[in-house]
């Protein structure tokens, strides 16, 4: 055969991938384990965005993607979506959360107390350059409190509801199978409440901060006060086929409730929760949720706007897709452009001098 078509495609993509992976080197269990131990906050962030709670898999995804967060989230999501649903866990109520940290900015003190828990909030952000000089940084040991903070805390909103400050809509029981599942149904607007919260839970942290921050700066209609921020562990309670409910383990969760004076003469609440500990995300998400109710169509705090645009897999994928060749569509536009030029040419000659 005299003519050989360029079959470079398959070989080129194969070699390009090898080039990338060569840079990352061998990935083994030791590396995955080191990632998981060294970067718990990053693991939490990735697990939240992937909506898959499995620290080992999250660490593997991070190692495999060389730390590219969007790649790691895509790896986990693509794996997650093929897994069977074995059971739907029992609902988790706030007062059942094993709470590590719980603060409120709305009151000086709250029933159950302000529990600082683990935080860098008041740390001086000094880079420990000594470490690079061969002097390891060893954290000072924690001195236990004289009386341990209670592991279970009431919710502040419960007190506010009792005071008549917050609306207390009647709770409707929903069968576990009837809870709308965003990963099995398309997101349509106006969104089901479950879809909104699920979508916020798996949203991109950075994207949520951007839009949440815009709302905080004044592009929203409600200024948030942190009613309650919680870092906790939730018991995953599932029903055995025989009927007994048992705990299948605990997952780290974070949740934020922000509030502002609503139009109805009561406080309105915005809520966001996610898997893993990620305070920036839940405060931003709760702020967006708070603002969504009164948002005009097309504004950045409108539900449709922020839920669509903070989807990490969709947003990052579409962004990088612009690297794909677009020469067919470009050629089509070029044809229209040249056609318009040709049509316009004789007119310009007719301009009287």
């Amino acid at each position: 055969m005299a003519y050989v078509a360029t079959r470079g495609g398959a070989r080129a993509i194969d070699q390009a991938e090898r080039l990338y992976r060569a840079e990352l080197g061998q990935i083994d269990a030791t590396r995955v384990d080191a990632v998981r131990r060294a970067l718990p906050m990053l693991i939490d962030r990735v697990m939240g965005e992937a909506s898959l709670y499995e620290p080992d898999l999250a660490a593997l995804a991070l190692a495999q993607a060389g730390g590219d967060l969007y790649e790691a989230v895509l790896l986990l999501r693509a794996w997650r979506t093929t897994q069977p649903r074995l059971a739907i866990a029992e609902p988790v109520c706030q007062e059942q959360l094993f709470t590590h940290r719980r603060i409120s900015a709305a009151f000086k003190d709250i029933p159950g107390g302000q529990i600082l828990g683990p935080t860098l909030d008041y740390a001086h952000r000094l880079l420990a350059t000594d470490v690079l000089q061969g002097r390891p940084y060893t954290p000072a040991p924690v001195t236990p409190a004289a009386t341990a903070a209670p592991a279970y805390q009431p919710s502040l909103a419960a007190w506010q509801k009792a005071q008549g400050l917050v609306a207390d809509p009647a709770r409707t029981e929903v069968a576990p199978d009837a809870i709308p599942d965003l990963t099995r149904e398309p997101l349509l607007f106006p969104a089901k409440r479950a879809h909104t919260l699920q979508s916020l839970a798996r949203a991109d942290t950075g994207g949520m901060l951007t839009l949440g921050y815009a709302a905080m700066r004044g592009y929203g209609n409600a200024h948030p006060t942190v009613n309650e921020l919680r870092l906790a562990e939730a018991e995953v309670r599932v029903r055995h086929p025989r009927g007994t409910v048992f705990s299948a383990g605990r997952v780290k969760v974070s949740q934020a409730e922000v509030t502002s004076k609503g139009k109805s003469g009561q406080l309105s609440l915005g809520f966001c929760a996610t898997l893993g500990w990620n305070e920036v995300k839940v405060i931003s998400g709760a702020t967006l949720d708070l603002n969504a109710a009164a948002a005009p169509k097309g504004s950045p705090v409108e539900e449709e706007f922020f839920l669509y645009h903070t989807e990490p897999v969709e947003a990052s994928g579409f962004c990088i897709h612009f690297k794909l060749p677009h020469y067919v569509t470009f050629q089509s536009s070029l044809d229209a452009l040249r056609g318009a030029k040709t049509a316009a040419a004789p007119q310009s000659e007719q301009v009287p001098t």
């Binding site: 055969m1 005299a2 003519y3 078509a5 360029t6 079959r7 470079g8 495609g9 398959a10 080129a12 993509i13 895509l74 790896l75 999501r77 693509a78 997650r80 979506t81 093929t82 069977p84 990963t183 099995r184 149904e185 398309p186 997101l187 349509l188 607007f189 106006p190 169509k297 097309g298 449709e304 669509y308 897999v313 969709e314 990052s316 994928g317 579409f318 962004c319 990088i320 897709h321 794909l324 060749p325 677009h326 020469y327 067919v328 569509t329 470009f330 050629q331 089509s332 536009s333 070029l334 044809d335 229209a336 452009l337 040249r338 056609g339 318009a340 049509a343 316009a344």
Partner: protein
């Protein structure tokens, strides 16, 4: 009868990658899409091992349709050897055992980005077009919930207004690819971003076309023998790209959609966008027994 007889052995990956519940949802939505031609059907759109925007919508439809006896062709910009087409094709055959082909005539299933092959598709073939933005109303209404209502009302006046304004401003309709087209006299669709050259190929075609946007979670269909009419004014006819008189510098074939390759001397060379048609033409000229099927365009004009 035992459980083992009723169930299949555990496998690390389902046939065709997607699990049964994902495929069931897709099949239902694909049937609905056929039942209401051109109407966008929302679907869950699972994550697949490819980034969104890289053909994940087309991929999900193709994965649902694939069977071991399928013969699959994948093109990007008309070319089978384009890197992303090669990647998708190898994934498809890996997870399904389907045969791969470059030849439009041999394919039972064609997944494509931005082109419809020049050789006529026949009854029984299925074309799956990858769609980045399924919403023809996006330029006039970015809000999807409002746009959905507009489709329900067949409220398409603002699309004609855009075309009218283009004529006033530029003397002609300036739409490039993805020309808004009325399907079955009811729903306006974005025919993925295929060039205008390819839009008439969908009109009263023998084959079935699915258009699927994974990121936007919408799929729609043009069933066989369905009207697809580009939006035009009665006194301003629809114009395809002015490629009818161009000649491919590699194969010598003329009268098809071309890629323009800028040249060092300031001019341009042209080559067939449908790369395998070019390969077949060259082989034929060299006396090999390659068969070129009937084409939609003949001598640069729609046959």
């Amino acid at each position: 009868m035992s459980i083992a007889q009723l169930t299949k052995a555990w496998q690390p990956m389902s046939y065709g990658f997607l699990d049964a519940s994902a495929k069931r949802e897709l099949r239902r939505k694909m049937l609905k899409a056929i039942a209401v031609p051109g109407c966008q059907m929302p679907y869950a759109s699972r994550e697949v091992p490819m980034a969104r925007g890289w053909g994940t919508g087309g991929l999900q439809v193709t994965l649902t349709l694939l069977k071991p006896s399928s013969v699959v062709k994948v093109i990007d910009q008309g070319a089978d050897d384009s890197v992303n087409a090669a990647s998708i094709r190898s994934f498809l055959s890996k997870v399904s055992g389907a045969a791969e082909t470059w030849d439009t005539l041999d394919a039972s299933l064609i997944q494509s980005r931005h082109r419809i092959p020049e050789e006529r598709l026949h009854a029984g073939q299925i074309l799956v077009l990858q769609v980045p933005n399924p919403e023809p109303l996006r330029p006039v209404e970015p809000n999807m919930s409002i746009a959905r209502q507009m489709h329900a009302d067949a409220d398409y006046g603002r699309l004609w207004l855009i075309l009218y304004e283009q004529i006033v401003r530029s003397g002609r309709i300036m739409e490039g690819a993805a020309y808004p087209s009325l399907v079955n006299g009811r729903h306006v669709m974005t025919p993925s971003p295929i060039p205008r050259w390819d839009v008439p190929k969908l009109h009263m075609a023998q084959h079935l076309t699915f258009l699927s946007a994974g990121r936007e979670k919408r799929l729609y269909a043009v069933p066989p023998f369905t009207k697809v009419e580009p939006l035009v004014f009665s006194d301003v006819p629809f114009k395809v790209e002015d490629h009818g008189a161009l000649t491919c510098h590699r194969s010598g074939v003329n009268g098809f959609y071309m890629n323009e390759i800028p040249q060092g001397d300031g001019g341009s060379a042209f080559e067939l966008s449908d790369s395998h048609l070019g390969i077949k033409a060259i082989r034929q000229a060299e006396g090999e027994a390659d068969q070129i099927g009937a084409t939609w365009y003949q001598n640069g004009h729609l046959a």
